[in-house]
Amino acid sequence: MGKTLFEKIWESHVVVEKQNEPDLIYIDRHLVHEVTSPQAFDGLRMNNRKVRRPDLTIATMDHNVPTSDRSLPILDQTSAVQIKTLENNCKDFGIKLFDINSPNQGIVHVIGPQLGITLPGSTIVCGDSHTSTHGAFGALALGIGTSEVEHVLASQTLWLEKPKTFEVRVEGKRKNPHAVTAKDIILSIIKNIGTAGGTGTVIEYRGEGIRDLSMDQRMTICNMSIEGGARAGLVAPDQKTFDYLRGREYTPKNYDSLVDSWKDTLKTDSDATFDKQFILDINDIAPQVSWGTNPEMTCNVDEPIPSSDEFSNGNANQKKGAEKALEYMDLESGTMIEDIKIDRVFIGSCTNARLEDLIEASKIVQGQKVASNVKAMVVPGSQMVKKQAEEMGLDKIFIDANFEWRAAGCSMCLGMNPDILSPGERCASTSNRNFEGRQGNGGRTHLVSPVMAAAAAINGHFVDVRKLDLN
């Protein structure tokens, strides 16, 4: 019987295999950031261990970094300590670091692909659940905890139980691909499979609806695999993948011969079977807006917020969850999404802060002004994205419309830096999690695409971007 892409990558990375026990899997790339690594380096020191393969390890600082003036000192002392700690650890253990002043600094999942560090068919880990982003290149990319970070630093391997396989097939063609985006596809998938729908599995996204997507868009899809509970998400590499990675700063010298070997092997065999399957037809899908406190609580922009009964489908716990969520969000079922007014707009995060996201959002913003009661900001995913956007004049478009134009980092996706919502503030956000307090204690997050966020900024409330001329 044939094999899935995931199974092929897994099998090619098994170092030790034992009956009824996890496999020891080799890790080709380890990405490190300041929040989940200090305790791991401490563990190495305590046991007098070194980093086995510094040449496979890359670090940057993204979660804590201020996105305002980088020439100023970091005011939050605990953030400053964490950033300094990463600098010291990288120096002590010989790890390449893109620090706060590096032109390569950025969100770890944005810079990996951009620098050609992410490679098809490889195994990639990072102490961050959105590591799944790198799966867009046909890599097996896993988010791990700090103990596992320490394990990979010490041994370049991990003991892992083999996940099951989950085919998510995206069929059809979007009628207006500028209005209905990759974000709307992944939110639709999560709305259907649920936040635990992918638990214990690696998703392979397949079908015409995925092949049609650019690499930036595929990253948005794979990024949110974790929001569907999956261990990882991946897309088989194709010509778009190979072209994207060619000629980047850290693309391997023998890239063309690697591509030749990937072309034959990195795909799911036609007779392979998956443990689980979900099919989404995207011919008629609408822009999505989350209304609750987890990404499954999402509906179409032209729909009313569902009642807790409609949402829960008879599941008492889900019903209770929906009621609690509506209370936290200060929303009532039956309210039309377009009638929801917003206070803040955040265009950023590892989900939606790549160049294409900013280009698409800028088309809505051009020549307009942010609504007077709204505060809006753009935080590019990396300093390189920022530079490219500035070369295209996008910064000017956003600034002229009264958006703040910031330096790169995770920023208000999780608000570990000063970019946070105040209690009660409502935000249209291109990030990935609408959990209670995620963007600031008491803050209310609505997950949307970059174009939906931009349109909400201009109008002060959600707008169905299909009504706008986006071409």
Binding site: V16, N20, T36, D55, D128, G229, Y250, G321, F435
Partner: protein, 194 residues
């Protein structure tokens, strides 16, 4: 890691589904660079109001559950962020067993690295344990939960059970396979980053 010891305690019943790690340990506490002392921040935004006063209606603030070592929770516990700080906070607070109908993958894995036993049970058994007011005993060696009215057996992967019972250091175990790792590296076709 400390070896897991059998636990006898009352349960803290926390009947909520999809509790994410952002709730277990909010982001403002992820800036610390050590592993200890996170217990006082566990479920911080649910335990305390904006002035850091105790919210009396939150389950952990009910003195009835003081000293409880067993947390019983709803479906999909620990979803979202990979932050191991969530497990450090539960451990430091005093929980050593977490019972649910399902766990998110990364959280589940993080538990075993810190000597915490996550137990998955049928939703109807979890529902029953949420009502249990007498102390219960969790016996990992025999994979059994002893309540005042019945014995409930649970499944656990034999490898994970051994790790908990012996408190094994993962990395030391892995170093026994160093020759295999070197062998793998010699034939690997994935180039270095640098």
């Amino acid at each position: 890691m400390k070896p897991f010891e059998n636990v006898k305690s009352i349960v803290t019943p926390f009947d909520k589904v999809n509790v994410d790690t952002d709730q277990i340990i909010p982001k403002q506490f992820l800036k610390l660079v050590q592993k200890s002392g996170f217990g006082k921040f566990l479920f911080f935004n649910w335990r305390y109001d904006e002035n850091e006063n105790i919210k009396s209606d939150f389950i952990l603030n009910d003195p009835k559950y003081d000293g409880s070592k067993i947390l019983v929770v709803g479906d999909n516990f620990g979803c979202g962020s990979s932050r191991e700080h969530a497990v450090w906070a539960l451990d430091d607070y005093g929980f050593s067993v977490i019972i649910s109908s399902s766990f998110a993958d990364i959280f589940f894995s993080n538990c075993f690295k810190n000597g915490i036993l996550p137990i998955s049970l049928e939703p109807k058994i979890v529902a029953k344990l949420l009502q249990e007011t007498s102390p219960i005993e969790v016996d990992l060696e025999n994979q059994i939960i002893i309540t005042s009215s019945e014995d409930i057996s649970f499944e656990i992967n034999s490898h994970k059970k051994k790790i908990l019972l012996e408190g094994l250091d993962d990395i030391a175990q892995t170093f026994q396979f160093e020759d295999k790792i070197s062998e793998f590296e010699e034939k690997s076709t994935v180039p270095s980053v640098l």
